[in-house]
C-alpha cells in the first residue's frame, strides 16, 4: 500500500517553490518556526513530499530527519497527495455513539478504498477525524469545507453523487 502511494510523482512548479521560499524567509527567524512553515508549505503544495521537506531543510538549516520526524508525528501533515475531494468522517465520541462508524464503513465500501487512501482516479480520499466540534449535529462528515450533519447510512450515496 505504501509503495503504491509513493509512486505519485512530484509535480511542484516554479511558482510554488517561489511562494515557499518567500514564506521561509518571512518566518525562519521566529522561535519555533518549523510548524508554521510546514503548515504554509502544505497549503501551497497540498501535501509535504520529501522534495518539499528538502527545500525547507536547505533553507532553514534544520536537519531533514528532524523535519521528517515532525511531519510524520502530526496527523494533519500528509506525505501523499489527497484526492480532489477529501471526505473526512468524524469518529469522535458524540458521532460514534450515534453511528458514525457505520458511515465510515459504508464509505469504504462505496469508494472501494481504506481510510487514508485515495481513489485511483484521484477524485476522492477518505480519512477519519476526531471531533470537529459540531457534536450537536452528530453524526457528521466533511467533504473538503462542506459539513454534512445528522446523517444516516442512506445519505452516503446522495452525498457522493454530488461530487462525482
Amino acid at each position: 500500500m505504501l509503495a503504491k502511494k509513493n509512486m505519485v510523482p512530484f509535480k511542484g512548479t516554479k511558482e510554488q517553490e517561489a511562494q515557499l521560499l518567500e514564506v521561509i524567509s518571512q518566518l525562519k527567524d521566529q522561535e519555533g518556526s518549523l510548524m508554521p512553515i510546514l503548515q504554509k508549505a502544505q497549503d501551497i503544495y497540498g501535501y509535504l513530499p520529501i522534495e518539499v521537506q528538502t527545500i525547507i531543510s536547505n533553507e532553514t538549516g534544520i536537519p531533514l530527519e528532524k523535519i521528517y520526524g515532525v511531519v510524520t508525528f502530526y496527523s494533519q501533515f500528509s506525505l501523499y497527495p489527497k484526492g480532489k475531494y477529501n471526505i473526512s468522517v468524524c469518529l469522535g465520541t458524540a458521532c460514534y455513539v450515534k453511528g458514525s462508524g457505520d458511515l465510515f464503513a459504508r464509505l469504504k465500501e462505496r469508494l472501494g478504498i481504506e481510510g487514508g487512501q485515495t481513489t485511483s482516479d484521484g477524485k476522492f480520499s477518505l480519512t477519519d477525524c476526531r471531533c470537529i466540534g459540531a457534536c450537536g449535529l452528530a453524526p457528521v462528515l466533511t467533504v473538503n469545507e462542506d459539513v454534512y450533519g445528522r446523517l444516516t447510512v442512506d445519505d452516503i450515496d446522495g452525498i457522493i453523487a454530488k461530487y462525482e
Binding site: Y74, A94, R130, G133, G149
Partner: protein
C-alpha cells in the same frame, strides 16, 4: 441607532447547518425592504443550542427562531421586521406558551444555567472589539494595571478558588504564584491551551469563536501577574473559524492598544502570538504543547521541572486552558468572594459542559458546580430521545469514565467525579442509552489512545495496544474470564508507569466500565452475547415466523443469499452464510427480523 438587532449564530454548529447562507439572504431581504438603516444583522458566537441550528434571535423582543432555512428568511423579514408579527411556526417550541411567547431565560435549557465563561457567546459580534468593550471588556485589565499589584492579582485568583478547567483541576492562582516566585525576573511566557482534543468537548472552541478578546484580556492579566510580556495561544487546526476570529481580534486589540507596548499608558507591555496545532491529541498535555510550539514532535517531557520553573523555550511559563481564562476578567471585576460564592466546597464557580450523544438538547451548557447529573440530563438536556433508557454518561473524554444511573444525584464537581471513577476532564458529557454496548465504548476509547499515544514511553505505547487487543478478542467472542482479570491488571500497570497524563488516564474508560458494567463483559465472555446488540460477531439475525409474511423482500436484499423460503411462507436465515450486515432488518416492513 437601529430599531432592531437580528443575531444569527455563526458558530461551528450553526455554520455547519448553513447559517452563513441565512445571513447572506437576510441582509439581501433587509436591503430589498428598505430596512438597511433600521435593522442590524449581527453574526454572533454560539448560543449553546446547537441541535436547533441555525439559530436567529431578534431583539428587542428576543424572539428565538430555530432551524431557520434560507427560504424562511423572506417571511421573517416581511412579517416580523416589517409588520411586527412573530412567525410562530419557526419559534422554538419551548418558548411558546398559551399566553404568548416567554423569554429564552425561562426555558428548561437556559433556566438552570449560569453563564460566566460563556457570558458574551451568542450576545456580541466577536469580530468587533467595540462590542466586547461595551460589555466591560478590557475593564479588568485596566483595573489590574492601574489599581492592583501583581501580588493582589494572584491573591484574588487564589481566593476565588478557580481551578483549571482543562481537566486537571489544579488551582490557577497557585500556578501563577509559582511562576512569579520560583524564578525572579527574566523572560517568562503565558500560554493558552486551546488544543481542545477531547472528542465531544467544544466549549473552548465556542469561547474562541464567540468571545476571543476575553482570552487576550485574561492572558495579559496573567502576564502582568507573573511578569511576562509574551503570550502564545496554541489552537488546534481543526477549528478554522476560531483561528480566523482570533486573527481578526488580535489585529483589533493591537490597533486599540490593549495589546502591545505600554498598555493604557503604563509601562506594562504584552503581545500574543498564535500557533496552530497539526492534529495530535497528546499536544493538549502541557509539556507536549510547549514542545510543539518550539517546533518539535509534540512529545511530553518528564516533570519536574514544572513549566512554572522551566517551560517554553526553557523559560518559566504558565499554561491555562481557554475556559479558565474566560473566568478571569469577571473574577477581577466582581471580586473573589463573588466567584467563591458559587459551587461546592472545593470546586468554585461554574463549568461548561458539551452535551452530546443520546440526548435531546445537544449543545453547550454552563452550570454552577454541584449541579446533579439528573438536572443536566433530564431538565437541561431534555432527556433521552425515542423513549430509550439511560445507561451511562461519559465524562472526561478518553481519560475519563462512564457514570451509571445509580450516581444520577451526585453533585458534579472535580472531587466527586474522581470518586465515582470518572473525571471532570474538559467537560464533554456524552449520554449513552440502552443501545450502546459498554465493552464497545471501552474499545472505542482505546482505539483512540492507541492512535494518539506519542510512542515515547513503553507502558503507554505497548500497553494500550495490548488492552485494545484484549477488548477486540472479547468483542469477537473469543474472550475468557482470565482476559477480564488480565485487562484489569494491565490497566493499573499502565496508570502507574506512564510518563504523562495521556497514558496515566488511558485505562480509565476500561476501568470504569469494568466497575459499573462488569455484567456486560461477562455476557460477552461467558454467554457469548452482546446485551446491547452492538457487537456483530456475537449477534445472530433471526426471523420471527409469526411476524414474517413471506414477502421475499429480505431474501432479495440479502447480499450473500443467506435467506431462503417460498412466497407467503415464513423465511429462514442461514446463520452460517449470514454476514450480519443488517440489510434484511433495515428492509423488513413487518419488523419480523430480530438481532439476538
Amino acid at each position: 441607532m437601529y430599531r432592531s438587532h437580528v443575531l444569527v449564530c455563526g458558530g461551528t454548529g450553526c455554520t455547519s447547518s448553513g447559517s452563513q447562507e441565512i445571513i447572506r439572504v437576510l441582509q439581501e431581504e433587509i436591503d430589498k425592504n428598505g430596512l438597511t438603516d433600521e435593522v442590524c444583522v449581527v453574526k454572533t458566537g454560539c448560543h449553546g443550542l446547537c441541535a436547533l441550528g441555525p439559530i436567529m434571535i431578534i431583539y428587542p423582543d428576543s424572539t428565538f427562531y430555530s432551524m431557520v432555512k434560507p427560504e424562511d428568511v423572506a417571511e421573517i423579514v416581511s412579517e416580523h421586521l416589517l409588520k411586527g408579527r412573530v412567525v410562530t411556526r419557526l419559534v422554538y417550541d419551548e418558548t411558546v406558551t398559551d399566553n404568548g411567547i416567554k423569554s429564552l431565560g425561562e426555558t428548561a435549557f437556559y433556566k438552570n444555567q449560569h453563564r460566566i465563561a460563556l457570558r458574551n457567546c451568542g450576545v456580541i459580534n466577536p469580530e468587533n472589539i467595540d462590542e466586547y468593550i461595551g460589555r466591560d471588556g478590557y475593564a479588568a485589565l485596566g483595573k489590574v494595571l492601574t489599581e492592583m499589584t501583581p501580588d493582589d492579582v494572584i491573591k484574588c485568583i487564589l481566593d476565588s478558588g478557580l481551578r483549571g478547567r482543562g481537566g486537571g483541576g489544579f488551582p490557577t492562582g497557585r500556578k501563577w504564584q509559582l511562576a512569579k516566585d520560583l524564578v525572579k525576573g527574566g523572560q517568562k511566557y503565558v500560554c493558552c491551551n486551546a488544543d481542545e482534543g477531547d472528542p465531544g468537548a467544544f466549549m473552548d472552541r465556542s469561547v474562541l469563536e464567540g468571545d476571543p478578546h476575553v482570552v487576550f484580556e485574561a492572558m495579559a492579566i496573567a502576564g502582568y501577574a507573573i511578569g511576562a510580556n509574551q503570550g502564545y495561544i496554541y489552537v488546534r487546526a481543526e477549528y478554522p473559524i476560531a483561528v480566523e476570529r482570533l486573527e481578526i481580534a488580535l489585529k483589533q486589540a493591537r490597533e486599540y492598544g490593549v495589546l502591545g507596548e505600554n498598555i493604557f499608558g503604563t509601562d506594562f507591555s504584552f503581545d500574543i502570538g498564535l500557533r496552530l496545532g497539526a492534529g495530535a491529541f497528546v499536544c493538549g498535555e502541557e509539556t507536549a504543547l510547549m514542545t510543539s510550539i518550539e517546533g518539535n514532535r509534540g512529545e511530553p517531557r518528564p516533570r519536574p521541572p514544572f513549566p512554572a520553573e522551566k517551560g517554553l523555550f526553557g523559560k518559566p511559563t504558565i499554561l491555562n486552558n481557554v475556559e479558565t481564562y474566560a473566568n478571569i476578567p469577571q473574577i477581577i471585576l466582581n471580586g473573589a468572594e463573588w466567584f467563591a460564592s458559587m459551587g461546592t466546597e472545593k470546586s468554585k464557580g461554574t463549568k461548561v459542559f458539551a452535551l452530546g450523544g443520546k440526548i435531546n438538547n445537544t449543545g453547550l451548557v454552563e452550570i454552577p458546580m454541584g449541579t446533579t447529573l439528573r438536572t443536566v440530563i433530564e431538565d437541561i438536556g431534555g432527556g433521552i430521545p425515542n423513549g430509550k433508557k439511560f445507561k451511562a454518561a461519559q465524562t472526561g473524554g478518553p481519560s475519563g469514565g462512564c457514570i451509571p444511573a445509580e450516581h444520577f444525584d451526585v453533585p458534579i464537581d472535580y472531587d466527586n467525579l474522581i470518586q465515582i471513577g470518572s473525571m471532570m476532564g474538559s467537560g464533554g458529557l456524552i449520554v449513552m442509552d440502552e443501545d450502546n454496548c459498554m465493552v464497545d465504548i471501552a474499545k472505542f476509547f482505546l482505539e483512540f489512545t492507541v492512535d494518539e499515544s506519542c510512542g515515547k514511553c513503553t507502558p503507554c505505547r505497548i500497553g494500550t495496544k495490548r488492552l485494545y487487543e484484549i477488548l477486540e478478542k472479547i468483542i469477537n467472542g473469543n474472550g475468557t474470564l482470565e482476559d477480564i482479570d488480565k485487562l484489569e491488571e494491565l490497566c493499573y500497570y499502565i496508570k502507574e508507569n506512564s510518563l504523562c497524563g495521556l497514558g496515566q488516564t488511558a485505562p480509565n474508560p476500561v476501568l470504569s466500565t469494568l466497575r459499573y458494567f462488569k455484567d456486560e463483559y461477562i455476557a460477552h465472555v461467558v454467554d457469548k452475547k452482546c446485551p446491547a446488540g452492538v457487537c456483530k460477531a456475537l449477534l445472530n439475525f433471526v426471523i420471527d415466523p409469526d411476524k414474517c409474511k413471506g414477502c421475499t423482500l429480505c431474501a432479495r436484499k440479502c447480499p450473500v443469499n443467506a435467506i431462503s423460503g417460498t412466497v407467503k411462507e415464513p423465511h429462514v436465515i442461514d446463520t452460517t452464510k449470514c454476514i450480519k450486515c443488517g440489510a434484511c432488518m433495515d428492509n423488513c416492513k413487518f419488523g419480523a427480523i430480530e438481532k439476538k
